[in-house]
């Protein structure tokens, strides 16, 4: 299926958000996930399925004022 990951159209085999985060080697790092403009808490990544055409944003903190 296809998802929009941080704005980029991508193909994924991942079934849930935890699998996606693991595939991106982000597990254990500080990040936050939004699926179709809804926050998905870290505790619910595994139980949140990915659907075709989902818009998924993964963010972190960067320098800013």
């Amino acid at each position: 299926m296809h998802i929009y990951l941080n704005g980029e159209l991508q193909q994924t085999q991942c079934h849930n958000l935890l699998e996606l985060v693991q595939q991106l080697a982000l597990e254990g790092k500080r990040f936050a996930v939004e699926q179709n403009e809804m926050i998905v808490p870290k505790s619910r990544l595994e139980s949140t399925p990915i659907h075709d055409q989902d818009r998924i944003e993964i963010i972190h903190a960067v320098g800013g004022g």
């Binding site: 993964i58 903190a61 004022g65």
Partner: protein, 261 residues
């Protein structure tokens, strides 16, 4: 004279200088400058993770650990209430439920002047959702009162445009905002050099937030130290109470006992 602590919402601080983390050469310089500034509250921006980036790339929050600093996520780059609210929600999730944020909703690219209509809208939604809002705003005393009555925990009027370094262009309105407010007032944006920070504090402001003035200095670490002293000096001068201004001279030495007259 012992100063009181700076109380913002449910938190208290010793330092009245708040610093940003943008525009530094690298994370080491960020680290050194923040240490030199003595700041306890440090702002960060919220952006997309670079997908495919080297996973071992150093992370900003390892330099400013949330256990040591109060991280203040900002909504920089947001031009409408909805994106600012989403940014704050993501920041809260990122920082394990941390609810203190800097709300800034901007009006246009050229001036980065705050869009007050959208700022008010976002503030309402965020306060209802349990956030503590430090709000970037124009130096309009009526808007500042409105934001305070909504429940913002700190009012942060601009001294001049973000990143301009033009200093405090309207000290008069900043003092009116401070006089009216029961929550802390911090000058956010516009500071260019140490004297600007001192002026903000001499006006009675509770603190100063800056980024570019330090990061874009030739020697950011030294400027961070200068800003720390300027904020402390300005604060002490405010607490000391300045002498009244006079139009004409008033001799400092005795005007009696002259041997040459």
């Amino acid at each position: 004279m012992e100063d009181t602590l700076l109380k913002i919402g449910s938190r208290t601080f010793n330092s009245r200088l708040l610093v940003g983390t943008g525009k530094y050469k690298d994370l080491q310089e960020t680290d050194l400058a923040i240490q030199a500034s003595g700041a306890e509250i440090v702002t960060v921006a919220i952006r997309r993770v670079n997908i495919g980036q080297h996973p071992d790339q150093p992370n900003l929050l390892s330099v400013i650990p949330p256990e040591k600093y109060t991280i203040l996520p900002n909504t920089a780059g947001c031009f409408d209430a909805n994106s600012a609210v989403r940014t704050c929600m993501l920041a809260r999730e990122l920082l394990d439920g941390h609810n203190l944020v800097k709300l800034e909703v901007l009006g246009d690219e050229k001036t980065l002047y705050p869009n007050i209509t959208e700022t008010l809208k976002a503030a309402r939604t965020l306060i209802d959702d349990g956030f503590e809002i430090m709000v970037y705003t124009s130096d309009d005393p009526i808007v500042a009162q409105e934001l305070e009555s909504m429940g913002c925990v700190a009012i942060m009027p601009l001294g001049s445009l973000i990143g301009s370094g033009l200093g405090i262009l309207n000290p008069h309105t900043i003092s009116i905002i401070k006089e009216n407010a029961k929550v802390p007032v911090l000058v956010d944006a516009g500071v260019g050099t140490a004297s600007d920070a001192a002026i903000a504090m001499e006006l009675g402001c509770d603190g100063v937030l800056m980024n570019t003035a330090i990061a874009a200095a030739q020697n950011p670490v030294l400027m961070a130290s200068a800003m720390r002293k300027a904020v402390e000096a300005g604060r002490e001068a405010y607490l000391a109470g300045r002498m009244p201004r006079k139009r004409m001279a008033n001799a400092s030495s005795p005007e009696t006992g002259y041997f040459f007259k």
